[in-house]
């Protein structure tokens, strides 16, 4: 940490000269000067800095590396906002989403989660990496805490910071490689004071550490920590800007929509633009869609909006038909993008899921029920597939459900090449 009377120096960030004090952490020095360098594992008073997440990767004096492990020195040249660095940093955030099992709408930390926040700041609308869906434990054994391994990003904060009064560690990393996980010492955990336990929950950047009975009082949307304003000036969701594949120019455009393995929540959101819908009707017409109950395609459409992923054979067939009948295919909502809530089953074998649901459930008498199987019924897939694993998908609109404005802004952009910017507050995963 910078001493009080340390030397005044000048560094440059993306060409901008900044006065600061020698030895200060680079992320901090930038922040004090209104420049945002994304960071996740960085925690101001942990020294040496953890440097585990790599979300803060910048180019510093010609070398690529994390900003959070750098102390500023006179004349330091830092690049933050190059195209390549921006893309690289989002890749890291995407990797974290793919590695863990993040079902934001069901998460206690949603809205206050640093991982989510980084995704928003970087405009991550989907992960370029396949989700790994590794089965992970939710550990209810500790006396006071619940450890949700699905959400841990292995930042190491808890390992460094959560200590008992006599200095014993409560957390440690265990295993290595892709098996690495955070482990908790039940004995030491039980010795923590209430405040220490709450502190553990609050330093965890994600929803991986929860304290029983003290889960954050759910705040209404809009009031949570990361809901409304970006730390960056002029936040845009980038993908729409450089949309290469815009629909053919013409008069009235046609849209088709469908809900596959979704909850119709995305369709409800679609209707949420209220009177705006009347304007839309002026310029577009709907073909096959649950909104107008047209069951079959009657012509080739400009855009297909798909809600939900594929959990059964019928979903797959419908999706393939959409691909053929729509020039541009858009996955809207988390379920369509990577599986979403229905994909919670992906970490468990199908057999176990079905048996639990139909045979061993609390309300089922032994021997009385069977798992439904009938020629008339669609067949259930081994896991829930994101649409882009089955057909090519052109655009992705995140959210569970996506904000109505976000959806229409994207559609208008695609159909009429209209410039648009999605506001930070409209870009959400829950």
């Amino acid at each position: 940490m910078a001493k009080k009377n340390s030397k005044e120096i000048v560094i440059s960030i993306d060409g901008k000269k900044i006065n600061t004090q020698e030895g200060k952490n680079l992320v901090k020095a930038a922040e004090e000067n209104g420049i945002f360098i994304p960071s996740l594992c960085y925690y101001e008073h942990i020294d040496p800095p953890l440097g585990t997440c790599r979300v803060c990767t910048c180019t510093i004096d010609g070398y690529d590396g994390p900003a959070c492990t750098q102390k500023v020195r006179d004349g330091m040249k830092v690049e933050v906002q190059t195209k390549k660095l921006r893309d690289t940093r989002s890749a890291i955030v995407e990797m974290m989403f793919s590695e863990g099992n993040h079902f934001c709408p069901g998460c206690e930390k949603s809205g206050d989660c640093d991982l989510q926040h980084m995704g928003y700041e970087m405009g991550v609308s989907r992960s370029r990496f396949p989700h790994l869906f590794k089965d992970r434990l939710i550990d209810f054994n500790p006396k006071r805490m619940v450890i949700e391994h699905n959400r841990c990003v292995k930042c190491h904060r808890c390992v460094e910071e959560v200590l008992t009064d006599d200095g014993k560690r409560v957390f440690s990393f265990a295993n290595r490689g892709n098996q690495t996980e955070v482990a908790i010492d039940y004995e030491q955990e039980a010795r923590l004071t209430d405040d220490q336990a709450l502190n553990a929950m609050s330093i965890c950047p994600t929803g991986a550490i929860l304290v029983k009975g003290a889960v954050m009082t759910p705040l209404p949307f809009g009031d949570r920590k990361f809901d409304m304003t970006s730390e960056q000036k002029g936040f845009y969701e980038p993908s729409g800007k450089d949309s290469k594949k815009a629909a053919k120019k013409g008069k009235k455009k046609t849209i088709a929509t469908i809900s596959l393995a979704g909850c119709f929540g995305c369709h409800m959101s679609l209707l949420d633009i209220d009177l705006g819908l009347l304007d839309i009707i002026e310029v577009v017409e709907f073909n096959k869609s649950p909104l107008n109950d047209i069951k079959e395609f009657t012509k080739q459409c400009d855009i297909g909006l798909v809600e939900g992923g594929c959990c059964n054979s019928e979903n797959v067939e419908v999706l393939q038909e959409f691909r053929k009948k729509c020039d541009i295919l858009v996955s809207f909502g988390e379920c369509a993008i990577w599986g979403g809530l229905p994909a919670m089953r992906n970490t468990i074998p199908l057999e176990e899921c079905l048996e639990e649901a139909y045979l061993n459930g609390m309300t089922s008498e032994p021997g009385e029920y069977i798992v439904p199987y009938n020629r008339e019924l669609p067949k259930i897939l081994d896991k829930v597939y994101p649409n882009n694993e089955i057909v090519k998908v052109d655009y992705f609109i995140p959210g569970c459900p996506p904000d109505a404005n976000h959806i229409w802004k994207v559609v208008q952009n695609l159909l009429f090449n209209e410039d648009y910017s999605v506001l930070y507050s409209e870009f959400k995963y829950d």
Binding site: P48, G51, T52, C53, R54, V55, T57, D64, G65, T69, A91, I92, M95, M96, S98, E99, R128, F129, P130, L132, K154, D166, G167, K168, R169, V170, F171, S172, F173, A174, N175, R176, G177, N178, Q179, T180, A183, D185, E187, S313, V316, R323, P349, L350, E351, L354, I370, V371, Y373, K379, I380, L381, D382, K383, Y385, N388, E389, I390, V391, K392
Partner: protein, 579 residues
């Protein structure tokens, strides 16, 4: 860290030794041992468990009376790994990854064990068994069942030195009288030693090629009283075994190099960090250390130089490739998980226990001893202007003469291939999976700093070897050996592995190769240490150098319907419920 009430707790530095002691005595580390460690060292049990689970030779469950580790490196894979694996399973009744019901035999895979010139090879209770065949496996297992001890029936490991330069051109493999070099120090000031090493242009032989003289000078310049000399004998890069041969053929030369380093930088304590795979050579090293004490080459006032004291000990590792990375190695020596540190300080500033530390490779120390013996002029007369001296290559794979080759820097790949009698070589992996992949077109390139830097591994593959198989083996290695500390390496290697599986199934498109390239670049840019940064090197080079081969593996007619989605197989699980 626990606040230590003076002397109440054991020193954390002893933790790995302590765990080894429990494991050797009981075959595995039991719950009460963890508890005991926790009390003795004053750290929580979870932290002890964290250390144990980091190292793959530590076991929390019985590993059998005979614990067998079969090497699964790519050289082994091509020399019959699968066959030998099955033979062990047949003969012992255990299956890999577990112990037989009678708890006699435990079978496990492990990464390269430094015996690539004798593959397939295995360690049984850490004793080496080489050139395995099904018949040999049968014999070994039956002997063990009859009550023979692995120590009695294991193989002697010949040094296998295949190529020595003509007399004056040699640096390592030439006449040597143990203990003859350190006495020369009485004629040299420490600064003069450093000057000589600088002048020789000696560079680190562990792979990074950092100038050794510079490293020593910066450590010497540190004001601290306590400093350490650490020998990196972790030799984990698959295909490397030159440190093994140096340590078995001239252990004294290594010790002299370390003592010289101690003299040069002002350190009085050295540690050899020896990988657990080399347990079998520990005795000989210890014997040499003892002799050195007797000869007055270790201890106090060495060779009569007043105040020149130096002690040396061996620290055993416990199975983790990443511990070859110098800062991970230091953490491991401190009894911690072998996670690399942030690069805020050089080890020469803050190393072992935060004291200035020189970490050098085995070969580097040996070469440094020769610099003092032969003089830097001798060095400069060999090799090229920018890379003077010689280099030890560990040659393995598809050739008739695997073994150690001492070659002048600047030697061409083709020359090595010829000497090794390689048959139809199609590609050479220089410097191991983290190094460079060289196609037949490039065999004219030379091994030197400015062309093909090399840490020692030289694996030859002939034209029948499937490149994807090789790449899958590498990726699996990195996935297993990543320390898991940073996101891009922990998750990235896993993700790349899945991608390669997809390609292997014939389900990939050309765009999948673009993904690999881009994702590899992300890992390279953002990983915390060399492991993650280098993990996709070979794969990306292979994509570039064997375009035809990779082109043949993908589907070019994509119609927007992903071929990889196979509805029939996706509903197979459900079909079980058909009544």
């Amino acid at each position: 860290m626990a606040k230590r009430k003076s002397g109440k707790f054991r020193d954390r530095v002893e933790l790995l030794d302590c765990l080894w002691a429990y494991q050797s005595k009981h075959g595995y580390i039991k719950d009460n041992h963890v508890k005991q460690c926790s009390e003795d060292f004053g750290i929580s049990e979870v932290e002890i468990e964290g250390v144990i689970s980091f190292y793959h030779f530590f076991m929390r469950q019985p590993g059998g009376k005979f614990t067998i580790y079969l090497n699964n490196s790519i050289v082994s894979e091509f020399k019959g790994f699968e066959r030998i694996k099955q033979a062990f399973e047949r003969e012992t009744g255990a299956s890999f990854g577990s112990v037989d019901p009678g708890r006699q035999f435990g079978l496990f895979e492990t990464a390269c064990i430094g015996l690539s010139d004798y593959e397939p090879a295995a360690l049984i209770n850490f004793h080496p068994f080489i050139n395995l065949t099904t018949l040999k496996v049968k014999e070994i297992v039956s002997q063990l069942k009859k009550g023979k001890r692995p120590a009695d029936i294991c193989d002697d490991i010949p040094n296998n030195i295949r190529l020595q330069p003509p007399k004056e051109g040699a640096i390592f493999f030439r006449d040597y009288k143990p203990g003859s070099i350190v006495p020369l120090l009485s004629q040299m000031k420490p600064e003069a030693v450093i000057e000589e090493v600088k002048r020789s242009m000696l560079r680190g032989m562990g792979g990074a090629l950092f100038p050794t003289g510079l490293k020593w000078a910066s450590c010497a310049a540190e004001g601290e009283k306590k400093k350490y000399i650490v020998c990196n004998a972790d030799e984990g890069e698959p295909g490397t075994f030159k440190d093994r041969v140096l340590m078995t053929s001239m252990p004294a030369l290594l010790l002299e190099g370390m003592i010289i380093a101690g003299y040069a930088v002002g350190s009085d304590e050295g540690v050899i960090y020896l990988r657990a795979e080399y347990f079998w050579m520990k005795k000989q090293l210890e014997k040499t250390i003892k002799q050195f004490y007797k000869m007055g080459l270790l201890g106090t006032d060495i060779t009569g130089i007043k105040g020149f004291n130096f002690d040396l000990r061996i620290q055993m590792g416990a199975g983790a490739y990443v511990c070859g990375e110098e800062t991970a190695l230091l953490n491991s020596m401190e009894g911690k998980r072998g996670e690399p540190r942030t690069k805020q300080f050089f080890p020469t500033e803050k190393g072992f226990l935060d004291k200035p530390t020189v970490v050098n490779n085995v070969e580097t120390f040996c070469a440094a001893a020769r610099v003092v013996e032969l003089g830097s002029d001798h060095f400069l007369s060999i090799g090229t202007a920018s890379s003077p001296g010689t280099k030890l290559l560990s040659v393995s794979g598809d050739c008739h003469k695997p073994g150690i080759y001492e070659v002048a820097w600047g030697t061409k790949v083709s020359r090595v291939l010829k000497e090794a009698e390689a048959e139809n070589p199609n590609f050479v992996q220089v410097s191991g999976p983290s190094g460079s992949c060289i196609s037949a077109k490039e065999f004219k390139r030379s091994i030197e700093k400015d062309d093909l830097p090399c840490g020692g591994s030289f694996m030859i593959f002939n034209d029948k070897r499937d490149i994807l198989t090789i790449m899958k083996n590498y990726t699996n290695f990195f996935k297993e050996e990543s320390c898991g500390f940073c996101t891009p390496c922990r998750a990235g290697n896993f993700i790349i592995q899945r991608k390669l599986e997809k390609i292997g199934k014939g389900l990939a498109y050309p765009s999948d190769y673009d993904d690999i390239r881009e994702w590899g670049e992300v890992m390279k840019m953002t990983s915390r240490c060399g492991l993650g940064k280098a993990a996709t090197n070979s794969l990306n080079q292979a994509l570039e150098k064997f375009p035809k081969y990779f082109d043949g593996l993908v589907d070019h007619h994509k119609e927007g319907l992903n071929k990889e989605f196979d509805l029939e197989s996706a509903v197979q699980e459900y079909e079980k419920f058909k009544s």
